[in-house]
């Protein structure tokens, strides 16, 4: 019966919502009730791999970090795609091989472009 299924589905959704809110609320509540509150400067500082962070959390820092981070990320992602491809490309249609070449080619072009535009130089 579609009607029953619909109603049942509804109940599921409702329960999910209620439980979701309840669980989140409970966590916050438990935190507020149970946690001992002894604030200190060290606790308020953000965690940054064990290094004491700069003068202030909101202070400006060099935007070039972003460029490097993004370039790093691009090749990271490339690797993520390369691994599964490397496992199966022999069994799949030939265009899958060329597709990956194209993908790497485009990324390579990106590096070249960034290089030529002087992004890789720290100025």
């Amino acid at each position: 019966m579609p009607g029953d299924g619909f109603a049942l589905d509804w109940v599921t959704v409702a329960v999910t919502i209620v439980v979701g809110f309840a669980a989140m609320g409970a966590a916050f509540l438990a935190n507020a009730v149970l946690a001992p509150r002894r604030p200190s400067v060290d606790k308020a500082t953000p965690y940054e791999s064990g290094i004491r962070p700069g003068p202030l959390g909101w202070s400006q820092f060099n935007a070039r970090y972003y460029l490097f981070a993004i370039l790093f990320l691009i090749f990271d992602v490339e690797a993520v795609f390369l691994f599964p491809w490397a496992l199966v490309f022999l069994q799949t249609a030939s265009y899958v091989f060329y597709a990956m070449l194209l993908f790497i080619g485009i990324l390579f072009f990106g590096v070249l472009y960034a290089w030529r535009k002087g992004v890789l130089e720290w100025r």
Partner: protein, 695 residues
């Protein structure tokens, strides 16, 4: 076979003349202005050739040259089409429009040229004038001419670009109208004709009277067009029936077969709506008042309006849609009565006016009445025959009046007289036109008028009644035609514009002076051509017997109608009546055996009634417009407007502005808020989705 491209070219050529004159010649200014005339004349000459070819093609094809209409746009199953509908009726109209228009343009080359020293409108003539012994001192003090239209008023061709551009548009609209295959298409051209006639009647827009006349023509015809529009909407509301039968609701050919599908009731309303449009355009009672005032335009414009374009459109529409009208006896009777009454009514007003162009104007109204009458008694072919003949002699008469004005600078017949001595060509041609108008054997007017009377006589009761109207109108027409001839060309010269005191002249006339002379050849040649047509068009086009080159009743057969037979008694009666009218005019204005003044005194009430045109203008202006509309309706409307409509509009405006502003307040520029908007949107969609047909 006549290519469809050629048919479109018939419309496109004058339109191109308009575009060239308006967008190329006019901006070039004085040096190029003179070209404007040649542009339009050339375009129309080619148009005339094409029209003749079209006529021959239709003749060869023995009927309609069938062009498939083109899809303009389609909305669902309804197709809006445009196309060319070239049948014998259209072919005849093409000939009439393009030939008359061409002759008028040639005439205008002379008429619209101005004298360098003058501010006035009508040009003085070139060669004859230069050599004339007549003293020129009278016009030596030009320069303070009334304000013109931007082009230097000193320049002899200053009026050319604007004039010939408008003329191109006017002719193109009329040609487009007759070629239309679709009623909507026809209506668009119909309105374009109205628009360009407005521009031309108001050509001397710096004269208050011209501006007023243009406005009047536009508004009065618009009243009729409203009926036309209602008919269109009414047809559209019945589109389902027509489309079910595979007909296109607005295609004229399809509408011809539509009557049985729609039933007589619906057809009657459609017919009456279309007829209302024709009443406005063809100046039938009670919407005739604009036509006499339309004299304010340049005379060649009047000539074109009266002969071939504007007013012919109404009669053409009646003939075009006749297969539909046939189904409604009510509508036909109303058309016949309106036409017959208008014929009688308008001629009576023509008896007493002094302005030569107004005499002609009333004669046009009454002749159009004849045509309507013919449509109403079921003889659209005869109506078209009369339109055909009338076009030539009426155009001729107007050009003649312009020629007279060229010489004496007034249209007032009381200031004319004896002009035949100085203007022999004008005299002879106008005389031919007048005889034709009066309907004397064997000139053009006789043949078609006689056939109309026969058709009416053979009709039912209504036919007999309008026959009497027609006979009455014939008498008076003959009378005033010759009154006009005698007053203008015979007797002693009464001074022309010189006899008008400066104080009574309008500014444009201030510097004019009479110098009696024949008009230049560029003006007289078209008149001579037209005079030939006025003599021959009736006998040649629809002769009762075989002429050798032209078979008997060519016109009627061409329009696929059985030939009307010649009715001796009626021919004799109508001729006698016309001769009687001429005789009376001769006694009163030529031999002075009967005193015109005495007659006017004896019949004073009638004379006053006629010269005030039955007080129709007063009725419209004074009573309806001033009293009913201004005092009553407008004041009420004003009150409603100020207190209710304004309030509502203000409220709406206020609401609009403030809700708009309130909504714009949401636009804080805060991204967070925008995000909230998106979240809200999701919730709204979800809610509506889930309430719809869930389960």
């Amino acid at each position: 076979m006549f290519s469809e491209w050629a048919a479109w070219a018939i419309i496109a050529l004058p339109l191109a003349a308009f575009a060239i004159n308006a967008f190329i010649v006019r901006p070039l200014g004085a040096p190029a202005a003179r070209l404007a005339g040649y542009v339009t004349v050339t375009a129309l000459a080619v148009t005339l050739v094409l029209s003749v070819l079209a006529l021959m093609a239709v003749q060869d094809a023995h009927g309609t040259a069938g062009y498939e209409p083109h899809l303009w746009f389609a909305v669902g199953p309804f197709d809006m089409t445009i196309g060319i509908f070239l049948d014998p009726l259209t072919a005849i109209m093409l000939i009439v429009v393009s030939s008359i228009s061409l002759l008028v343009q040639v005439y205008s080359l002379g008429y619209m040229r101005r004298e360098p020293a003058h501010g006035g409108h009508a040009a003085e003539e070139r060669a004859v004038h230069a050599g004339a012994a007549h003293a020129h001192d009278a016009h030596g003090h030009g320069g303070d001419a009334p304000v013109g239209d931007g082009v230097s008023r000193e320049h002899p061709y200053a009026d050319y670009p604007r004039y010939f551009a408008y003329m191109g548009l006017f002719t193109a609209s009329m040609l487009g109208l007759v070629l239309s295959s679709n009623l909507i298409q026809l209506f668009i051209f119909w309105e374009l004709v109205g628009l360009s006639s407005y521009l031309l009647i108001g050509f001397y827009h710096w004269r208050p009277s011209a501006a007023a006349a243009a406005k009047k023509a536009f508004i009065v015809t618009r009243i009729g067009d409203f009926g036309f529009l209602l008919a269109l909407l009414y047809i559209f509301s019945h589109r389902a029936e027509l489309m079910a039968a595979g007909l296109n609701p607005f295609d004229i050919r399809d509408l011809h077969q539509a009557a049985p599908l729609l039933g007589p009731g619906v057809v009657t309303w459609i017919a009456l709506g279309l007829f209302a449009g024709a009443v406005g355009k063809s100046a039938q009672f009670p919407l005739h008042t604009w036509l006499p005032d339309a004299m304010e335009g340049p005379t060649p414009v009047s000539s074109l309006i009266h002969a071939a374009t504007m007013v012919a459109a109404g009669v053409f529409l009646m003939a075009r849609m006749f297969p539909l009208f046939e189904e409604s006896a009510t509508a036909l009777n109303l058309i016949a009565l309106t036409g017959g009454f208008t014929a009688l009514f308008a001629t009576s007003m023509g008896l007493v006016v002094h302005d030569i162009k107004r005499v002609l104007a009333f004669s046009t109204v009454s002749q159009l009445g004849y045509m309507m009458l013919a449509v109403g008694v079921g003889a659209p072919v005869i109506a078209m025959f009369h339109l055909f003949n009338h076009a030539f002699f009426k155009c001729l008469l107007f050009l003649g009046s312009g020629s007279v004005h060229h010489s004496v600078h007034t249209f007032d017949m009381r200031k004319m007289g004896g002009l035949k001595r100085w203007m022999p060509v004008t005299y002879v041609t106008v005389l031919i036109g007048a005889i034709s108008l009066a309907g004397i054997f064997p000139l053009a007017g006789f043949w078609s008028k006689d056939e109309i009377l026969v058709a009416a006589w053979e009709g039912d009761t209504v036919g007999r009644l309008v026959f009497l109207f027609g006979i009455g109108a014939a008498f008076m027409t003959a009378f005033y035609s010759f009154r006009m001839i005698y007053l203008t060309f015979h007797g002693e010269f009464r001074g022309g514009i010189d006899a008008v005191p400066m104080a009574e002249r309008i500014p444009d006339e201030a510097h004019h002076a009479v110098h009696r002379h024949e008009s230049p050849r560029v003006m007289t040649t078209p008149m001579v051509v037209l005079a030939g047509a006025a003599v021959l068009s009736g006998i040649v086009a629809n002769a009762p017997f075989d002429l050798g080159i032209v078979p008997a009743h060519w016109f009627a057969h061409f329009l696929e109608e059985e030939a009307p037979h010649f009715n001796w008694p009626i021919a004799i009666v109508s001729t006698l009546v016309a001769l009687g009218g001429i005789g009376l005019a001769t006694l009163m204005y030529r031999t002075n055996a009967i005193s015109a003044e005495g007659m006017a005194l004896t019949l004073k009430p009638f004379h006053v009634l006629l010269s005030r045109r039955y007080y129709m203008d007063e009725l419209y202006e004074g009573l309806i417009v001033r009293r009913v509309l201004y005092r009553g309706v407008f004041q009420a409307a004003d009150w409603i407007d100020r207190h209710i409509v304004d309030g509502t509009v203000d409220l709406a405006g206020w609401l609009g502005r403030n809700t708009g502003r309130a909504m714009a307040q949401v636009q804080t520029g805060q991204v967070q808020l925008y995000g909230v908007g998106i979240a809200l949107g999701v919730v709204v969609i979800l809610l509506v989705l889930l309430t719809q047909g869930g389960g």
